[in-house]
């Protein structure tokens, strides 16, 4: 007590504002409205951790005095807010809070107080006795007549109720023993809100790890028929949870003697909810169906079953008819009226119109009025089909149907779903037909998703392949911009079905046994598309090249060169393999090129005691080798480039330092200075590139990169020291540099042992001296350490990829200038693929350079980025151009930039948490935050012509 007084007193002296001011205010308040105003004002400002308790005491004191319920309510809510303050332990105010409950009459205030207790309870997770007490308090108030209070009580029990049986046994009283039972009793509460809260509390207990009892299941089933949607919605969730907990238990079917597995029963019940009256419940039910994978296949397949009838006669569905037609080998004539005429009579007794089972749940879900439900149903189908191939086969028809949904999102979702399950399925011709019809869709996303789908589908017949090719070519003529994606699609289609393509080759290449046919135009995208298909099929079908005509071989050579990513190396008669494909038997470790990479690096690191000339030469050679290696081996490109850049930095550093001329008076050697400062600048740039352009960089590399940057900064300091007169500006610079060294040490303290003999290592040894010495001395020390420091070995991570961007559109080939009236804007479509870019939405920018040097930076909308695959992104956006009038057309440059911000450097997220929290406090956040951009795509030139406005 004494101590507490002391601390509050001290607090009032140092920070007199908060609690004291509040106290004064509350005392001044003449009416409840006034007091409420003060409290509202008070709530707007944050409260320091130390003063929380004092404030709470004052509030409580006032609480007891207050007669007005609204003010008490506000105080109660403030108590809750205050207990949330980070670093404040609310156990000291718990007793008071519980006490206040006892005399409270207003239901609203009671509910609010319980809420406060909930906050307090959640803040004290390691204190079971406190929790027990709170739960007991809540149980006591469960009989309250207000729904709000009961709501909060249940919530509190759900959040704080004991989870482990063993611990609870001793500590608690009889009442609190079985929280599940207490909550379960409120499943039948008269207020729907309380029922919902009860179910939610139960779910909360489950989330916290309590194993729910199976007995709840029957109770929950009854709740499915509740009048209120939120109750039903929560009940569906609860049933799902139970079905996951006890999938194999047996439950009886009411009104019969049979018994089924619980998961099947639950599945049936949730299926039933797919045709609920409220769409919220329907969405919920449809979503949950997807995750019930233990359900038996018999039930699963029922979900797609809907027995049709017409005038009491059994009728086949269109799907069945299509299938039958297909298997009987003829296409639908579709000309007869009675084509779908019902066949056999049905026994009226056998028809069950509303089945309690799973019948037709997905049929209903997919036909639902709300697209949210349809999407949920498609997702669920996807998940279930992934786990069950036979179901995948069955649901195919329905998914194909969804390709014609009226809402694009649904169409897209179903195409994606189809792609995901495509391993399990083979498309029938009639299904393929429907799928291909969607190729003409005007939405680019749909078409591209469909191309992706075609990449990984299995087609059963050669007609199917032909059909696909014809439709894709049709697509190509209609939307020429789809070129790339169609080619890619055909590449996979060819390599997946070589035997189906083989009989089509003569027709596709329009060769004739006797006559020479004219040579097709090599630049025709359609012809290229056909060739891509054939060449990829030929890769695993050695007999195919025999069917090629002469020009085909020539075209092959051309395409192999120009579109090497689409055309595989072929073993052609009389020709050597163009590039030596790495045979799969060699593991990456034995890969010669990888070996080469490591060897050359080894060499560099080992021979660092060579004379400066030698080192320089060695570096130069190695850099050249690495760059070439990167060009040849695409999978090593990231690694090779990364190291080459690093070596380049080192080379620049050595070059800048090794000149003996440093020792001579500065002003005479301007050239030298220029070289050194340019080198420093370039090293800085390169280090940023290394840090931000590569994905897969680990903290080990980040240290080295930062170290290199530090060296560059040191170099910069030296150069400036030499060129500037006077000492004044140097003071600031030195201090700044030392600060950076300091922060480097803080950030990478764990890595320092690995940096023996390095620049930093030496620098840190000299630190005490540096701090006290004059700038000129500092510079001198830096210079010597820089020179003496060893070259750090750059360890390579497992995977390293360089972020690349390729602007597909504009192509930069057009000679027709884009004409527009000056002062107005013209929209330029930009389409680019990005690879290995992390968080493209935040980092990728478009830069437009005008001939007059004016540069414009455009941030694309987050929605413009699509994510077609892991590590790949696609940017499709519009850039608005505008300029004053020109006399003649001129070219502008468009390129993509990667922006970075060294504050959110990778280093900061990678270092261990403990050191981070320390450095967080010490580091002023914006101290060395440098924002910049790295161009990472080739610029594309666009011809534009702003015309003067006509008057």
């Amino acid at each position: 007590q004494q101590h507490e007084d002391l601390s509050t007193k001290k607090l009032r002296l140092t920070k007199p504002s908060k609690s004291a001011a509040l106290h004064v205010d509350l005392c001044k308040a003449t009416s409840p409205a006034d007091a409420l105003q003060y409290l509202l004002q008070f709530a707007r400002k944050p409260v320091e951790v130390e003063s929380v308790e004092g404030v709470v005491r004052i509030l409580l004191e006032h609480y007891y005095k207050e007669n007005d319920a609204s003010v008490r309510l506000k105080i109660a809510s403030l108590l809750g807010l205050l207990s949330k303050t980070a670093g404040f332990s609310p156990d000291c105010i718990m007793d008071d809070a519980i006490n206040t409950l006892q005399n409270e009459k207003s239901h609203q205030v009671l509910a609010q107080l319980l809420d406060t207790l909930l906050v307090i309870g959640t803040k004290l997770p390691e204190n079971p006795s406190v929790r027990m007490r709170l739960v007991e308090v809540a149980c006591k108030h469960l009989t309250d007549s207000s729904h709000g209070v009961r709501n909060k009580c249940l919530q509190l029990i759900g959040c704080l109720g004991p989870v482990e049986k063993g611990v609870a046994k001793e500590a608690e009283s009889q009442a609190a023993k079985d929280v599940q039972k207490i909550i379960g009793d409120h499943f039948n509460d008269q207020d729907p809100r309380v029922r919902t809260a009860a179910i939610k509390a139960m779910l909360q207990l489950h989330e916290r790890g309590l194993k729910l009892q199976q007995a709840i299941y029957s109770q929950a089933c009854k709740l499915l028929a509740d009048d209120y949607e939120q109750v039903r919605s929560a009940a569906v969730q609860l049933i799902w949870v139970l079905s996951q907990l006890y999938p194999e238990s047996i439950v009886p079917i009411p009104s019969s003697n049979e018994e089924i597995r619980l998961v099947d029963d639950a599945f049936g019940k949730i299926c039933h909810m797919v045709s609920d009256g409220s769409w919220v419940v329907r969405v919920q039910a449809a979503k949950l169906l997807g995750s019930m994978q233990q359900v038996s296949s018999h039930f699963l397949e029922q979900t797609l079953d809907k027995k049709l009838m017409s005038d009491l006669r059994r009728k086949r569905t269109a799907h069945e008819r299509a299938k039958e037609l297909y298997s009987s080998g003829e296409f639908s004539s579709g000309r007869k009226w009675g084509d779908d005429a019902p066949k056999e009579e049905i026994d009226t007794g056998a028809v069950n119109l509303i089945e309690s089972g799973a019948c037709g749940a997905f049929v209903h879900g997919l036909e639902d009025e709300m697209y949210e439900v349809r999407i949920a149903a498609v997702e669920a189908l996807c998940m279930l089909a992934q786990s069950s191939p036979s179901f995948a086969e069955k649901c195919l028809d329905f998914l194909v149907d969804m390709f014609n949904d009226e809402i694009e999102e649904v169409r897209l979702q179903s195409i994606h779903t189809m792609r995901k399950i495509s391993n399990n399925i083979t498309l029938r011709e009639d299904q393929l037909d429907t799928v291909l019809a969607v190729l003409e869709d005007s939405s680019r996303d749909i078409r591209e998703a469909l191309h992706e789908l075609l990449c990984c589908t299995n087609v059963s017949t050669k007609e199917g392949i032909h059909l696909a090719l014809v439709e894709l070519l049709k697509n190509l003529t209609k939307y020429p911009t789809d070129r790339e994606s169609i080619w890619k699609c055909l590449k996979f289609l060819g390599s997946r079905h070589p035997t189906l393509v083989l009989p089509l080759v003569p027709e596709l290449l329009s060769t004739h046994p006797f006559f020479d046919t004219p040579e097709p135009d090599m630049d025709d995208p359609a012809y290229i598309a056909v060739l891509v298909l054939i060449f990829n099929a030929a890769k695993s079908c050695p007999t195919m090249p025999a069917l090629f005509s002469d020009h085909t071989f020539r075209h092959y050579a051309y395409l192999r060169d120009s579109l090497s990513h689409l055309v595989p190396p072929l073993r052609l008669p009389g020709r050597k393999l163009v590039s030596s494909a790495v045979s799969p038997s060699i593991t990456p470790h034995e890969d010669p090129s990888q070996q080469f990479l490591h060897q050359s690096l080894e060499r560099v690191y080992n021979f660092q005691h060579l004379d400066p000339r030698g080192i320089q030469e060695l570096l130069e050679f190695t850099i050249r080798d690495l760059q070439r290696l990167g060009e040849l081996q695409s999978e090593l490109a990231g690694m090779a480039d990364f190291t080459a850049t690093y070596l380049q930095c080192q080379l620049l550093l050595i070059k800048a330092l090794q000149e003996k001329l440093w020792n001579v008076a500065a002003p005479l050697y301007l050239k030298q200075n220029a070289l050194a400062s340019a080198a420093a600048k370039q090293i800085l740039e390169e280090t940023y590139k290394m840090e931000f352009m590569y994905s897969g960089v680990e903290s080990r590399q980040v240290v080295i990169i930062h170290h290199m940057r530090l060296q560059a900064k040191a170099l910069q300091l030296i150069v400036t020291a030499r060129t500037t007169r006077g000492v004044e500006p140097l003071f600031g610079m030195c201090e700044k540099f030392l600060q950076e060294v300091d922060s480097f040490q803080r950030c990478f303290i764990s890595e320092l042992p690995h940096m023996q003999g390095s620049f930093v290592d030496k620098l840190l040894d000299l630190m005490p001296r540096l701090v006290t010495s004059k700038p000129s001395e500092v510079v001198k020390i830096l210079q010597t350490t820089l020179r003496q420091s060893t070259f750090l070995h750059l360890p390579l991570p497992e995977q390293l990829h360089r972020a690349t961007a390729n602007i597909i559109e504009p192509t930069g080939e057009s000679d027709n200038p884009l004409r527009f009236t000056s002062g107005l804007v013209v929209a330029l479509d930009v389409d680019a693929t990005l690879e290995h870019v992390q968080d493209p939405q935040g980092t990728v920018k478009v830069q437009v350079l005008y001939p007059d040097g004016q540069a414009q930076l455009i941030h694309p909308k987050p929605a413009d980025f699509r994510n077609p695959g892991p590590g790949r992104h696609r940017l499709i956006t519009q850039v608005y151009l505008s300029h004053t009038a020109w006399t003649e057309p001129c070219q502008i440059e468009v390129r993509l930039l990667l922006s970075y911000d060294s504050n959110r450097s990778k280093a900061s997220t990678r270092i261990p948490k403990s050191t981070w929290s320390e450095s967080l406090e010490a580091l002023p956040p914006s101290e060395n935050g440098i924002e910049g951009t790295i161009p990472f795509s080739k610029p594309v030139k666009v011809y534009i012509m702003p015309k003067p406005a006509r008057r």
Partner: protein, 610 residues
């Protein structure tokens, strides 16, 4: 009408003394008096207005509203007619069209006139969805969305706590322009449902749509012309939307036309009543109203001869006359062309002939028309199928179901199913038949607050689940029920309070003095004698003691004893001094206690005196 029959829907409902007429349609199959419902059923000679409280029209199809002007203007009805806003807007167009055909084309007389339609529409009160309309103090109606056609609604009619839901025609699966019917769990006493497709479970809509689009697309790509004969309203709009979106999606260029006139007018209303359409149209109309067709243009007669592919919607739907037939004759000769029949065709029409596979048609003037074009049939219907009907019943949870608007044989099946699945009784009256349904109405009674508070204070805490016994006086006065405390009732009714007392004499052999006998009795009663008392058995044992004291036993100075309100007086017997007469008297409220005491005293007093 509409009893075991399709056409001239007209249902009379009497509910709690109110009479409501549901729909007022005509029958397509008849051209004589049978085409309209027989309104003499309602009343023979009185005015209809006196008898009917209101008329409700579910939607604008003529078999649901076709007889309305005849009924209101020619038979004479001036009461309110309720329908939704779109129905009110579109209904007169159709009526006018119907009138024109019957009067101008067929030359009938004694039919309603344009003016009558206008006058009739003046009596219409338009309602919004889910709006509760008070027809009078007790009768209220509420509309629910029904799909089917624009503005179709289901109506809930409620008097006191009795209610009826009339579905009209409805559709439980959404289509391209309308959503699905929906109703909340209103638990009506009776659900009157249509049952057109009582024995059908339909395939998914998507297959049909896909087939339709594929066929149209293929023909157009071949350079052929597609003719789609439709009726002006309903399906025509759905197919327009379907084709329009498809054209948009697929970037097609071939022109689509629809015949001018009625369809154009109706489209105008579809544009206006966006809130009645489905989710997609409602969500996108801010960018673009789906009914403002980009690809669909008005048709001109001259266009039929234009070269190149085109799609034409033309009326009427069964190819029996008018524009659709003209175009059909022009195009029938070319096998590249196609005609798609989106609905049912009556026997005898050209549509029916070609659907049944006839290839050579005899036209008027002995011309033979050879049909080379492809003929397709696509069923687009907007009624709920058996599953849909069951689904609606499940949603609404009615206590009784009544089926109308369907064929008797089919209804029989559905009726059996409904009774089997939901365990509710189901009816299917024929035309002219009356079904009486007993309801179990609850009668609300006002209770005075004072009484309520006083009564709830007695006994255990009120539990919502358990019924609670209360004492009070039920006052039925001025058509209202009130529960008041007896004193107030007496005051209100101006009656004096009478007390009913039971008296009983018990003879006891006791030679002592009167007051001594009294004292003995007093002591006896004060002792633990309550074990045999019936009320004490329901009281828990441990409470018995405390309760015992609650019965206030008093010995009054005049020698009489009171136990609560029970008075016991001991007097000497006039003849035999040794016998004392105990006079026991109690009010009827304390009957139980009184009779117990009497029986107790009859057993005699204990011998041992204190």
């Amino acid at each position: 009408g509409a009893g075991q029959d399709v056409g001239r829907s007209c249902i009379l409902v009497s509910i709690a003394g109110k009479n409501v007429m549901l729909d007022c349609g005509m029958h397509m199959g008849y051209n004589d008096d049978r085409r309209f419902p027989d309104f003499s059923y309602i009343t023979q000679n009185g005015r209809l207005t006196d008898f009917l409280d209101c008329v409700i029209i579910s939607h604008f199809h003529l078999d649901h509203c076709g007889a309305l002007p005849y009924f209101s203007e020619m038979v004479g009805y001036d009461g309110p007619i309720y329908m939704t806003h779109p129905t009110k807007a579109i209904c007169p167009i159709l009526l006018e069209d119907y009138r024109k055909i019957t009067v101008d084309k067929k030359g009938e007389t004694n039919f309603f006139t344009s003016q009558m339609i206008k006058d009739c529409m003046k009596k219409v009160v338009a309602v919004h969805l889910h709006q509760t309309v008070q027809v009078d103090e007790e009768l209220e109606i509420k509309a629910y969305y029904a799909g089917h056609v624009l503005g179709a609604a289901m109506f809930q009619i409620k008097v006191g706590c009795e209610s009826v839901v009339y579905t009209g025609d409805y559709n439980m699966t959404p289509d391209r322009h309308l959503g699905a019917a929906w109703i909340d769990k209103c638990r009506p006493d009776l659900l009157i449902s249509e049952s057109t497709y009582a024995t059908t479970i339909r395939d998914s809509k998507r297959c049909r749509e896909r087939d339709f689009l594929k066929k149209v697309h293929e023909t157009v790509e071949r350079g052929g012309k597609v003719l789609i004969p439709v009726f002006a309203l309903g399906r025509a709009q759905e197919l327009c939307i379907l084709l329009e979106t498809f054209w948009e999606r697929m970037n097609l260029k071939a022109p689509i036309y629809f015949s001018t006139g009625l369809t154009e007018k109706a489209n105008h209303y579809y544009k206006l009543f966006i809130t009645w359409t489905n989710q997609k149209i409602r969500k996108t109309f801010v960018q673009r109203n789906m009914f403002e067709f980009k690809h669909i243009k008005a048709f001109d007669r001259a266009f039929a001869d234009n070269p190149g592919p085109m799609v034409v919607f033309a009326t009427p739907g069964m190819l029996h006359a008018g524009q659709s037939l003209q175009i059909f004759r022009k195009w029938a000769g070319n096998e590249k062309n196609m005609v798609i029949m989106p609905g049912y065709c009556v026997q005898g029409t050209v549509g029916h002939k070609i659907l049944s596979g006839q290839r050579k048609l005899e036209m008027e003037g002995r011309q033979i028309l050879e049909v080379k074009m492809q003929v397709e049939y696509m069923s687009f219907s907007a009624h709920a199928d058996a599953k849909g009907i069951m689904q609606l019943i499940r949603q609404a949870e009615p206590r009784n179901v009544l089926l109308v608007h369907g064929e008797a044989k089919k209804m029989e099946f559905l009726k059996q199913k409904i009774e089997q699945e939901f365990h509710v009784s189901c009816f299917m009256p024929a035309n002219g038949e009356t079904t009486t349904i007993l309801t179990n109405p609850c009668i609300p009674v006002d209770i005075s607050l004072g009484l309520l508070k006083r009564e709830t204070a007695i006994g255990p805490v009120p539990d919502a689940k358990k019924p609670k016994l209360m004492h009070g006086t039920l006052l039925m006065k001025d058509n209202s029920f009130r529960l008041v405390c007896p004193e107030q009732a007496l005051k209100e009714l101006g009656l004096a309070e009478h007390q009913l007392r039971f008296t009983c004499r018990v003879h006891i052999q006791d030679p002592r003095k009167e007051h001594e006998t009294g004292l003995r009795v007093y002591n006896h009663l004060k002792g633990g004698i309550w074990d045999g008392y019936p009320a004490s058995q329901i009281i828990p044992k441990k409470k018995k003691k405390t309760l015992n004291l609650d019965y206030l036993v008093q010995h009054l100075p005049d020698g009489s004893i009171t136990v609560e309100s029970i008075l016991i007086q001991a007097t000497a017997h006039s003849e035999d001094q040794g016998t004392k007469v105990l006079l026991v008297s109690w009010t009827y409220q304390d009957e139980e206690l009184g009779s117990y005491l009497t029986s107790l005293l009859k057993k005699g007093l204990p011998q041992s005196t204190p």
